[in-house]
Symmetry: D2
């Protein structure tokens, strides 16, 4: 994404969202069932967008949907019941049509869940459990593709401003 005169480069900032592993997420292997991470990714990107001032709820109110086209997950180590985990989310690709988010789920210290210090970091910390990616596409409420810069230019500009640095 490096380039010569005018190019948009993503700030590689990770949004950190903390959560506590609850009982229902476990399975009889004694670990978190692998399907739950997909929902945790969703929580991560929701909280990141809220933090950026673009609540997903508000976009739905504008008639915009952002369904998932593609999910990839790699499972490194299992999470356990009652662990405090951080969902790290970063926006890695951005166009008027699509968004790509990357994620890391990491086990962090007990104290972090008690203080809920959500924040932006350049480097995720904690023990890596799962990493993944989701690709999304903007649709209107008739499920037709929508160009964000046409249908909600103010949201598009805001997103661009936040996620990009012109060089």
């Amino acid at each position: 994404m490096k380039a010569t005169n005018e190019v948009i480069t993503m700030q590689k900032m990770w949004h950190k969202h903390l959560l506590r592993v609850h009982y229902k997420a476990t399975d009889q292997m004694g670990v978190v069932h692998h399907a739950n991470y997909i929902s945790w990714f969703e929580m991560g990107r929701t909280e990141m967008m809220r933090h950026l001032g673009i609540a997903y709820r508000d976009m739905e109110a504008l008639g915009l949907l952002l369904p998932v086209l593609d999910v990839k997950v790699k499972y490194h180590k299992p999470a356990h019941y009652d662990d405090c985990v951080a969902v790290y989310t970063t926006l890695t690709e951005f166009s008027p049509i699509r968004l790509t988010f990357n994620y890391e789920i990491r086990r962090v210290s007990e104290g972090e869940c008690q203080h809920h210090e959500n924040e932006q970091l350049t480097e995720p910390d904690g023990e890596l459990l799962t990493s993944g990616q989701t690709v999304h596409m903007w649709l209107n409420n008739k499920w037709k593709p929508a160009r964000l810069n046409k249908v909600a230019p103010e949201v598009y500009d805001e997103l661009k401003k936040i996620v990009a640095i012109k060089k």
Copy 2:
């Protein structure tokens, strides 16, 4: 259900719907997590209504919603991964405004899940695991109470015909 000296009595018929316990439903106690039974009740009543010729999907298409007002569950014995269980459902109260369903979840023989013999029974069989009840209310799609005999008299009459015996 109002009447002079004639009384409508419910046929106590149980609809039997078979399902296989899947891995995601288990928790680290090695049993089915208690929240899953609520969804199994939902599958039971959906399949019962479909069997009665009144698919819930069609009622939503008519602008009718049937949200849950009240749930009660009693847990007798745990279900385990890969068990074949039968969800027994019966309609126990019925008016133009409300419906009450009762449920029994029972472990049945392995063979039943391979043949999927859904049927109507006067007496549920198998090992009782969970019993419960849900109460529902008819709403229109603006979430206002709806009298079924006014908004969908044909559905109301059909339900009445099927579930009742005049004595």
Copy 3:
């Protein structure tokens, strides 16, 4: 629980745990699917017990299980996506054999979820969405009934101290 000379009376204190409604919890009626509240109750009692210094994880490490015998839920109003809700939990019955918790789920102001001010209250506040109850029984890890005062007297005493006032 009233009596003459020496009697244990429950402190009616509600533990407040905040959570954000995530997308996966919604259904096509546009509200939170009713089964999710069961998991929210579980989060509520887990966080209450942690706050009381008796993490459920530690009790499992002692070989104790606390499965659910009975669940009741009343649905007053629906929760919606992205709502900030408080799960209020209180312990209403307590013996060496059983525990009963009561719950209220209430919609609270947006700001509360941003500050995560979990706390103990004598009176729950917010808009009442759901109320309910769960009954639990102590079992050992062979799934046989266990008397808490015999198998873990220190936990029993701690629980008793915290939840009771001698009169």
Copy 4:
């Protein structure tokens, strides 16, 4: 899968498992929430292995675990409430250490869910909704890697026999 000049080629057979989309799987976009497909893949491979005579439950009883290392999902079209869908599963890679399954979720005709004709097919039919892949690794019950041909040679041989054709 090592051999001299003889080569083991996978039979590309798809196992077809039918399921009905239930209400809880939907979200407020009016479609099946994307996380549910991960569980459907799990049901698909469980039923395929049962059909092959190697129930996953029995492998856990032998002290073998088969956790997921990697999941990929592509979402083509949404599934809706009450749809009848087929989960097609095929084993695409096989060694003493790892298994890879591929999946297709397809919408099929209403009648198929009423007759539950699970079967083996060379070509999946129906309207393609989702495709995906999971990679798994054999572990012993201490979560250490296990070579299937060492720890359960009879299972390994059976799997090999079933999935392979010598040329």
